[in-house]
């Protein structure tokens, strides 16, 4: 599989503390890759290393097929919004974008109006960026990340501090850019439910280390509603389920089967199992919320 970004044991050490510890993730072209972790988990540190703003203490990463010092030639294909948006408060949105256009050698004068339109700041005119609302500043930060036509955009906590309307606007902007322009996104957040609405892949980071990397389908499967069936003979129970036309199930261990369809047919399943001589030790409908799943993985009640 072709990845545009592969990190290999990325580690960042401050003093004796590993802010990021041996993190290895893989990002494909077109992904919206979500980094989940509580505050201080190491998300920003990882993103800073990938963005070229911080040097790894150990490990390396491959970017668009380039690694080591060679990847310097493709760093311009990354756009970043790390932590708070870096903007000149006395300049307008367009002036802020113009500065980056000049720095990146972008001469096309239509770029700035187009990007302002994309992020919904086309009507801000000469209003100083310092007078913008938090949501507008975040959108200006995203606009800055989009200058230079990047293939990969890294957004660190882009919805932090936004009101619900602002969150929806940012989410729609990201989805639009991903679908229409094929831009790959890496987005960090500690607001899991929001990230779950747009991300196609996830990496769960805790205490500087990668706990799990999984796709959206895998995560939904882990967190979806299901029948949890406990029986004394799982092999025979599977045969019964197949005969009933139930195919979406998973044998978890020696006596547990998770069934992901016909959730309202628990009674019929129990009866069929009994008819075939399979004892039902327990049956229940379960639903693990994303947050519960995260907390179970990281073993805590943090603010993620």
């Amino acid at each position: 599989m072709d990845y545009i970004l592969t990190t290999s044991g990325l580690t960042k050490t401050y003093g004796k503390h590993n802010a990021a510890d041996q993190i290895s993730i893989n990002v494909r072209q077109g992904d919206i890759y979500g980094l989940i972790g509580r505050n201080g988990a190491g998300k920003t540190t990882l993103l800073k290393m990938i963005s070229g703003l911080a040097a790894p203490s150990k490990g390396d990463f491959t970017l668009f097929g380039f690694k080591g010092k060679e990847k310097a030639q493709v760093m311009h294909r990354i756009g970043t919004l790390i932590e708070a948006p870096g903007i000149y408060p006395d300049l307008s949105a367009a002036e802020n974008l113009r500065l980056k256009c000049i720095a990146m050698g972008v001469r096309d004068k239509t770029v700035i109006p187009k990007i302002l339109e994309t992020v919904g700041l086309a009507d801000t005119g000469k209003k100083r960026a310092g007078k913008f609302s938090l949501g507008m500043k975040q959108r200006l930060g995203i606009a800055l990340a989009l200058i230079g036509d990047p293939d990969l955009v890294i957004l660190d906590e882009p919805i932090n501090g936004l009101d619900p309307q602002g969150i929806v606007e940012i989410r729609e902007t990201i989805e639009k850019l991903n679908k229409e322009q094929g831009i790959t996104f890496i987005i960090s957040s500690h607001i899991l439910e929001e990230l779950a609405k747009i991300a196609t892949n996830y990496a769960i980071i805790h205490n500087g280390a990668l706990v799990q990397e999984l796709t959206r389908e895998e995560l939904l499967q882990k967190c979806s509603e299901r029948i949890e069936l406990k029986t004394d003979d799982t092999a025979k129970a599977c045969t019964v389920l197949e005969k009933m036309g139930i195919h979406e199930y998973k044998v978890v261990d020696n006596d547990t089967i998770q069934i992901f369809e016909r959730l309202q047919d628990g009674g019929d399943i129990t009866m069929k199992l009994a008819e075939n001589g399979v004892k039902t030790l327990g049956i229940s409908v379960r639903n693990e919320a994303l947050e519960d799943y995260y907390l179970n993985l990281t073993g805590g009640n943090g603010n993620a």
Binding site: H76, I78, I87, Y88, N96, R98, I102, A103, G148
Partner: protein, 287 residues
């Protein structure tokens, strides 16, 4: 590099502090030239103390350690004054050094302070280029300070002296201007290096102001004592090898060894502070 320089120059002309700098430069120039005229026409062989706005009868070279901004004035200037002498005496009094200690750090630190640097630094092959582009903008900033100061001095000089203000030698003016520009740009680059080093304008600014107002001369006097105790000649004084010391001795008559030393001091400080800034910017993570 060229794009970054264009970006910094574009920004330079759009920040508030740039226009404040021009206003302050014009005010300082008007005030200083007026005080020089006042002093030349009402006193003899005195110096104007710009720090406490009073007139001192003690020339700085007669005191062991002097504080403040001093502009040398000669009694004959009441009847006739060469524009080069007027400009040199004011610049040698560290007036522009103070401005160079204040405005370049504000400009250079702006990008770090608001985090704009994070938008561009990661995409550069060599972050040291960020320093060179800043210094190119600072060079322009210092040039504008000089231009505004000289232009304003010409206006105020004409108002105060009328036809008694003369312009005797283009080459003398060019010499004084060139040496002072090198020293002031070097001074600004040193203050810039401190700003980059500590990621804030406070230290650089404070250091620059202390140097240009002569307060650091206490340290130099102490260092001289220690150096002399080590057997080095009594003629050696450390301030001769520092930028602010060199600024104060520039004159149209400067030549030979002194001229070479002053140029060498300016060049060495410029190169050293540029290399320090580039190394720090390249090696250190961006916050």
């Amino acid at each position: 590099m060229l794009n970054l320089t264009k970006m910094d120059l574009h920004r330079l002309f759009r920040i508030k502090s740039f226009w404040i700098m021009i206003a302050v430069t014009v005010f300082v120039s008007f005030f200083s030239v007026y005080m020089t005229h006042y002093d030349a026409t009402t006193h003899t062989d005195t110096v104007v103390d710009m720090t406490d706005m009073s007139v001192s009868e003690v020339p700085p070279e007669e005191a062991d350690v002097t504080f403040g901004v001093y502009v040398d004035t000669k009694s004959e200037w009441a009847d006739r004054i060469d524009f080069t002498d007027l400009i040199n005496s004011n610049i040698a009094g560290q007036l522009l050094a103070i401005l160079c200690a204040i405005f370049p750090p504000i400009f250079v630190n702006g990008e770090q302070k608001n985090g704009y640097i994070k938008n561009i630094a990661g995409q550069l092959n060599n972050r040291g280029m960020l320093v060179l582009s800043k210094l190119a903008a600072v060079a322009v900033q210092v040039l504008i300070i000089f231009a505004m100061f000289i232009f304003s001095a010409a206006v105020m000089g004409k108002i105060c002296w009328g036809d008694k203000l003369v312009f005797e030698s283009v080459s003398d003016f060019a010499k004084v201007f060139g040496i002072h520009y090198l020293l002031h740009f070097s001074f600004a680059s040193l203050v810039t290096a401190l700003t980059i080093l500590v990621r804030g304008s406070g230290l650089g600014m404070t250091f620059g102001i202390l140097c240009s107002t002569g307060i650091t001369s206490l340290l130099y006097a102490f260092a001289d004592v220690l150096i002399h105790k080590c057997g080095v000649s009594e003629e050696f004084t450390i301030s001769k090898y520092l930028i602010e010391g060199c600024i104060s001795i520039v004159s149209p008559d400067l030549s030979g060894g002194d001229l070479a030393r002053v140029i060498a001091v300016g060049a060495v400080f410029l190169v050293a502070s540029t290399l320090l800034s580039m190394t720090v910017m390249q090696k250190r993570d961006i916050r």
